[in-house]
């Protein structure tokens, strides 16, 4: 029998009798617990590819071809350490898998030379994966003990970066899809909804609505056709959790999808993926084909009488399509604009049929809950927020990447323990949580726990899970301007307060970061009016918009105004940007001690604002200077400074 037949007949039905030794051996081989030839794993998620994994892969291929080594190369997803990409892991027969960081194409040869000779080079080694079947390497730390992983609790990301995302066999050998078949054969849909409700799972896309309640509502609605939609329309800047889950462990998501579809009585499931996510889309396409070959979708799945179909939809890219009613309209071939609720999609959604829309991360939690029971899940987290949450860490922290922590972990632990603090020893300023319509959390609130209630009380939202860490060199006015510009562009235009209000806010922020010499007419007066209007404007947008996007749109501004009001006032009254980010407010001067009088800046200055004789220190005439920064760029002696 080949692998496929064994998996279908022996493993998938979840027999109570243990399979014979030969089968167990085969499963160990599929899990890469037992290997005959060396295996090289290369992190080839989008983050890896950006860092140059494609070159690393071809260099590795070339190496094993030239040296006539028989080895497997597996392209795995992201393990979460994006700042260490490209990552390359080597597993020799009988030895533990050991992981190396920042392996660009040039390093491949020397690294593999060492490893195949049984030596671990000191530099670039990261950690080893403990496994009782393997001999550990001496002097290589355990990956679970690294500070980055020690505080994490991985349910959704458990196999990300470890498993071969292109192999359904490995997923099944690790216990996958057995829960799904257990569900369709042994549980009624009501029972599954109850179990999920009991687990306390809440929507991970941002809203935090109880998943079980949503499912029960859809399950109780009578209809000839129901739909499940997996929302992978991740277009927040700074959030990449869904992409990483799909790229790293697509079958986990697919198992969650088919269980959810069965639980609400849907026979059709849609996955709405951003068109930009090329790799994720292809992974899903291949994985769905594999499911078909194994008979996990189609008519009468494993004789249970359940029909199942999964359709992939490419989202044409609009931030607002993350809102469920807008997403549904977009699948129907209309403009992605939100609609008033009720009727809730669970009663009347896609093509007027009951529809449940769940986020990728929510669905990826489902197999765990049904496999281990809701009790195993609801012990994790806080009383009202159960389980774990995946965050995408980016910005100025030491480590950037993907983490999964139990609900209730404090931001301080995440930023200083897991992510290792701030780059270059700079001071922490704020962390932006919840994407562009989230809030900035300042240093005073670092002990805030991340769960739905605590964040809500602090005026922030969980959002989909982007965490952008900002250091002292970040200007809060500039960040607020950036987010308002984004939201203004992405506003669908349905509600006037959101469409016009975000534009006005952006204009006001533009005004206060503008240089005096480019102001005309009443602009100078408008600046002062602006700051007075910002709060009122924000309240109107919040109270009168239809969808969550509009209601939360003023959040980044409101929170920045609450915590960093002095910075706004500095911009307005002193025309000063303390972080030096707002280019137009920069005032340049020349350090007379460093200036050699090379006249490079004098020649370049477009407004003749620099005066001085050759080989004598130069000066900048402030009134003439337009702050273009030309002199700053051209000076070789770092004599031009920003005040």
């Amino acid at each position: 029998m080949d692998d496929k037949e064994i998996l279908i007949s022996e493993v998938l039905p979840g027999k109570t009798v243990l399979p014979d030794k030969q089968t167990l051996d085969r499963l160990a081989v599929l899990r890469h617990d037992k290997i005959k030839i060396p295996v090289i794993y290369i992190g080839s998620g989008t983050c890896g590819m950006v860092a140059g994994a494609a070159d690393t892969i071809s260099a590795t291929r070339k190496y094993i071809e030239e040296k006539k080594i028989v080895a497997d190369i597996i392209e795995v997803g992201c393990i979460g350490l994006c700042s260490f990409e490209p990552m390359l892991d080597v597993q020799l027969p009988g030895k533990a898998r050991v992981s190396f960081r920042n392996i660009v194409a040039e390093n491949v040869e020397s690294l593999l030379d060492d490893v195949f000779n049984g030596e671990i080079p000191k530099e670039n080694v990261l950690a080893q994966f403990p496994n009782e079947l393997h001999d550990p390497w001496d002097g290589v730390p355990n990956i679970e003990k690294l500070p980055f992983f020690a505080l994490q609790h991985r349910i959704v990301l458990k196999h990300c970066g470890r498993i071969n995302p292109g192999s359904i066999e490995e997923y099944i050998a690790r216990g996958g899809y057995q829960t799904y078949l257990k569900c369709v054969n042994n549980y009624t849909s009501e029972r599954i909804c109850e179990l999920v409700d009991e687990s306390g799972l809440r929507g991970r896309g941002g809203g935090g609505y109880a998943t079980g309640k949503k499912w029960i509502m859809a399950n109780n609605t009578v209809s000839d056709q129901k739909y499940l939609i997996c929302n992978a329309a991740e277009s927040d800047p700074g959030a990449f959790m869904d992409r990483a889950v799909i790229e790293g462990d697509p079958h986990l998501l697919l198992e969650g999808i088919v269980i959810a579809a069965y639980a609400i009585g849907a026979t059709k499931a849609y996955i709405y993926v951003m068109a930009d996510y090329g790799l994720a889309y292809n992974r899903l396409r291949i994985s769905i084909d594999q499911m078909k070959q194994y008979g996990l979708i189609g008519y009468n799945v494993f004789g249970s009488g359940v029909d199942m179909q999964i359709l992939l939809v490419k989202g044409p890219g609009a931030f607002v399509c993350g809102e469920e009613t807008a997403l549904i309209r977009s699948i129907e071939g209309k403009r992605g604009m939100p609609e008033p609720k009720p009727p809730f999609p669970a009663i009347e959604g896609l093509f007027k049929r009951p529809t449940v829309v769940n986020n990728v991360e929510t669905l990826a939690n489902v197999p765990f809950i049904l496999k281990h029971g809701p009790q195993k899940f609801n012990v994790i987290g806080t009383p009202n927020s159960k389980g774990t949450k995946v965050f995408a860490l980016s910005g100025k922290s030491m480590m950037t990447g993907l983490i999964e922590v139990p609900m209730g972990t404090t931001l301080r632990d995440i930023i200083f323990k897991i992510a290792g603090g701030i780059q270059e020893g700079k001071d922490f300023k704020a962390v932006q949580i919840g994407g562009p319509s989230g809030s900035c959390i300042p240093v005073q609130q670092l002990d805030l726990q991340v769960d739905y209630e605590s964040l809500w009380d602090a005026g922030a939202i969980m959002g989909s899970g982007g965490l952008v860490v900002m250091d002292e060199n970040t200007c809060m006015v500039d960040m607020a301007k950036f987010f308002m510009n984004f939201l203004n562009k992405e506003s669908c235009g349905k509600c006037i307060p959101c469409r016009e209000g975000t534009r006005r806010i952006h204009e006001i922020l533009e005004n206060i970061t503008r240089r005096p010499s480019t102001e005309s007419g009443h602009d100078t007066l408008e600046r002062f009016k602006g700051i007075m209007q910002l709060e009122g404007l924000s309240e109107v947008i919040r109270d009168t918009s239809l969808c969550g996007l509009g209601q939360t749109a003023p959040n980044p501004l409101m929170s920045a105004l609450t915590w960093f009001r002095d910075e706004f006032e500095e911009h307005i009254f002193d025309r000063k940007c303390r972080a030096g980010v707002c280019k137009e407010l920069r005032v340049y001067y020349i350090d007379v001690d460093k200036c050699t009088g090379c006249v490079a800046c004098l020649r370049k200055c477009p407004t003749n604002a620099i005066v001085g004789q050759p080989r004598q220190p130069h000066f900048i005439v402030e009134d003439k200077c337009i702050g273009c920064g030309m002199c700053f760029d051209v000076c070789k002696f770092v004599a031009v400074m920003v005040k």
Binding site: V50, G52, E85, D236, P237, P316, G317, V468, F486
Partner: protein
């Protein structure tokens, strides 16, 4: 040789509005952008007014209405890249190529697009040229990268 639009549309059911977005995506994948002919043909086939199709297509970021250059530059304008200075990279590219974002150079070699987030936030600013990534780009270093491609063009 791209498949003619008349033939492309027949892969979808006639008069079903749900086919609109996938169909437009397929046409764009084939031709690189949506032209007037495509919109009119799709409208006749799906029984939708051309104005409505244009309205829907302009709503979404993915659809383009001018042809792409031989090298398509995408500059990431996500939060993390913004903090690392992607705004000045974008300005620099606009200055070098003498076009604004969303435009194509007159010789058809380059086109420029600013995108939301490419999901590679740890090593920004990121730019993508015809699928090839360049990370940690600086406004000073971008000229060399563009020159490389200009020579190839």
């Amino acid at each position: 040789m791209p498949v003619p639009i008349d033939e492309l549309v027949t892969r979808y059911k006639r008069g079903v509005p749900e086919s609109l977005l996938p169909l437009l995506q397929e046409i764009q994948a084939e031709f690189g952008f949506l032209n007037e002919e495509a919109i009119v043909t799709v409208g006749l086939y799906l029984n939708l007014p051309a104005s409505k199709i244009y309205g829907i297509a302009t709503f979404f970021d993915q659809f383009r209405f001018v042809s792409q250059g031989r090298y398509h530059l995408r500059v990431c304008r996500g939060t993390a890249c913004h903090m690392n200075g992607s705004a000045s990279v974008l300005r620099e590219v606009e200055k070098i190529l003498k076009i604004n974002e969303g435009q194509t150079t007159r010789d058809g070699h380059f086109s420029l697009e600013a995108v939301g987030c490419m999901g590679a936030c740890s090593n920004g600013p990121v730019i993508n040229i015809n699928g090839e990534f360049h990370n940690a780009v600086t406004s000073a270093g971008i000229a060399a990268i563009i020159d490389q491609f200009r020579k190839k063009a």
